[in-house]
């Protein structure tokens, strides 16, 4: 095993471990958000993290933004949740990271995750009959971007791109 091979292996291992870390980060957001731990979620995001939920409408034949904001905005929004009346039926994000692309300079990356969100009814309708029933809520993709700074990787951007556009009551929670 010569020096060059050694270096190539090291680099490959490096990029493969970055790739794994990125997947873990994405999956961590699913867990944190499912558990309504908004702070833990936002702590995985860079200061100037930008979040948006978007969908293409075949009705108006145009791309739409359903909500957007930076980390600060999301922090405020989630802090104020207790002041609002919400459907608190738990959501479970079920994502699979389909693709991770690390920039040539190793300083940023992008990832595509296919997800579904299931909602288990709690207090959104007639709880005596409906609570405890799980339903498909959303289908879409996460298009994420990352900043890589040595060992530290943070989300710089998340676009939630929804297929589902029958949103019914919608939600107070970031997806």
């Amino acid at each position: 095993m010569n020096q060059e091979t050694n270096q190539k292996m090291a680099l490959a291992a490096d990029s493969s471990s970055t790739r794994e870390k990125i997947k873990e980060l994405i999956y961590a957001t699913c867990l944190f958000q499912d558990d309504l731990d908004w702070n833990a979620w936002l702590n995985l995001c860079a200061e100037d993290f930008e979040y948006a939920i978007r969908a293409y409408s075949p009705e108006i034949q145009s791309d739409m933004t359903y909500i957007s904001g930076n980390r600060d905005y999301l922090a405020k929004l989630t802090e104020m949740l207790p002041k609002h009346n919400s459907d608190t039926s738990p959501l479970k994000r079920h994502g699979v990271v389909y693709r991770v692309d690390i920039a040539d300079d190793g300083k940023s990356a992008a990832a595509v995750t296919s997800f579904t969100v299931f909602q288990t009814q709690l207090d959104g309708i007639n709880s005596h009959v409906d609570a405890g029933e799980s339903r498909l809520f959303l289908v879409g993709r996460y298009n994420d971007r990352f900043l890589i700074d040595g060992d530290e990787i943070k989300f710089s951007e998340r676009e939630v791109r929804l297929d589902t556009r029958r949103l019914d009551k919608g939600s107070h929670w970031p997806i």
């Binding site: 939920i53 969908a55 409408s57 075949p58 009705e59 108006i60 034949q61 145009s62 739409m64 933004t65 359903y66 909500i67 957007s68 904001g69 600060d72 905005y73 405020k76 929004l77 802090e79 104020m80 002041k83 609002h84 009346n85 919400s86 459907d87 959104g124 309708i125 007639n126 556009r165 029958r166 949103l167 019914d168 009551k169 919608g170 939600s171 107070h172 929670w173 970031p174 997806i175």
Partner: protein, 426 residues
């Protein structure tokens, strides 16, 4: 002060007739079908906005009272509406929600509507322009002139909304139908072309009128943290709630303090034409339409009743066609913060009517629903609903307070009751 037993609970409220309705108007199957026939098939509906079909050959499809409708823009740029039903064997002619007939379809040539089933074709004026193998199959017995599409009354009016009626004999223009209710927003909407930037739909297990009620009153400000924090001051409560002919209402404006809600901002910079900064107007049109202008963004709700305890609501957001991308984004943000599917107010409103609907599902017991607040016809008055149900009673010839009674009897009853109460010093 105590809880009530069954007799007390079901007693006629000690209020004037018209100040309550019978919950069966929100839940009865028979009344629902009657509403579709006597109201929804007899009125004007703003089915979409002209910006959704900008170019010749563009189309939009929808339903009114379950009937499939297609709106197309002709070569002459005129917008026309038709039943989206093929005269041959009743197929839905176009399945897509929107698109263009400029390009052909798998079974059809460009610039025509083609029924994919047997490829009968129609032009943008609804004329049948081709019956496949006509001579072979129909000889002289049937010709294209016999089988044009069913054309529907259609007007583009009020900031570019496309209004359709299933009733050939409606006998009034949209303007006449609106009866002045649209005037408060007309200057802001008619100044320059608008454009839809937002569309989403909700199907909610409640009667459509419960959604309309919510749109008609501001007393439910207590539901919305955002409203309480940004609104409650003297000017807020002084907003007028005015009725117009045909069951429509308006809510007058005041200046909203958006910056009182953490993370939100003033909308002053992007006010619609002629609208004072951060002002807010609302129009509720009979039987289920809402226009709502909060400074920089216009919202329009269109209800499509699907059953006595099921309504589809289409939410549109509109800005100015002339917006720069940055302006547009700001309008979208303003719109979404409160009204988007992930916004602060819309979720609360939909949650409330869902819960209300759960108590007024189609087999629920009859209850009394109070519409009896009088507050000088300002926004916490419930006069908007009283105005609406008076009109509703007229169209259906039923008393909203007792739908087993006809409307005339209801009116007489009201007069008699009032007299009696007055003489009894109640």
């Amino acid at each position: 002060m105590s809880s009530r037993n069954h007799a007390q609970w079901t007693a006629t409220p000690n209020l004037q007739p018209g100040e309550w309705v019978d919950s069966r108007i929100y839940s009865d199957h028979h009344i629902f079908e009657e509403e579709l026939e006597k109201i929804w098939k007899k009125t004007w509906i703003p089915v979409c906005h002209e910006s959704e079909l900008n170019n010749a050959y563009d189309f939009r499809t929808m339903t009114i009272a379950r009937e499939p409708v297609i709106v197309v823009r002709g070569k002459d740029l005129k917008v026309r509406a038709f039943l989206n039903v093929c005269p041959h064997r009743g197929n839905m002619i176009e399945r897509r929600p929107a698109g263009s007939f400029k390009r052909g379809t798998p079974s059809g040539t460009p610039k025509t509507m083609t029924c994919m089933f047997h490829a009968w074709q129609f032009d943008m004026k609804g004329r049948c322009v081709n019956i496949t193998r006509r001579e072979e199959g129909y000889q002289d017995r049937l010709c294209t002139a016999d089988v044009g599409l069913r054309e529907l009354k259609c007007e583009v009016w009020f900031g570019g909304f496309v209004w359709v009626s299933l009733d050939d004999d409606i006998g009034m223009t949209v303007e006449e139908f609106a009866a002045g209710s649209l005037d408060c927003l007309a200057p802001s909407l008619n100044e320059e072309p608008l454009e839809v930037f937002h569309y989403h739909k909700a199907i909610i297990p409640c009667n459509y009128k419960l959604w309309h009620d919510t749109n008609c009153e501001f007393y439910h400000d207590f539901l919305h943290y955002h409203n309480r924090i940004t609104g409650f001051n003297d000017a807020y409560f002084a907003r007028k709630n005015s009725g117009f002919k045909n069951g429509h209402i308006n809510v007058g404006s005041f200046e909203v303090q958006y910056d009182q809600y953490e993370g939100f901002e003033s909308r002053e910079a992007l006010s619609f034409p002629h609208l004072p900064p951060n002002h807010w107007y609302m129009i509720d049109m009979f039987p289920g339409v809402n226009f709502n202008l909060r400074g920089s963004a216009l919202r329009c709700d269109l209800m499509t009743p699907l059953g006595p305890d099921r309504v589809m609501i289409e939410f549109r957001g509109l800005g100015l066609a002339s917006d720069t991308p940055a302006e547009r984004q700001t309008r979208i943000d303003h719109h979404n913060s409160i009204w988007g599917p992930f916004g602060r107010n819309l979720h609360e409103d939909l949650l409330a009517v869902t819960a209300q609907g759960a108590c007024m599902h189609s087999s629920a017991e009859k209850r009394t629903i109070l519409h009896g607040r009088h507050e000088n016809e300002t926004i916490h008055d419930e006069n908007g609903m009283r105005h609406y149900y008076e009109e509703w009673g007229r169209w259906l010839d039923r008393s909203p307070g007792n739908p087993d009674m006809n409307f005339a009897a209801h009116k007489m009853q009201s007069v008699a009751d009032n007299a009696q109460r007055a003489s009894a010093g109640m």
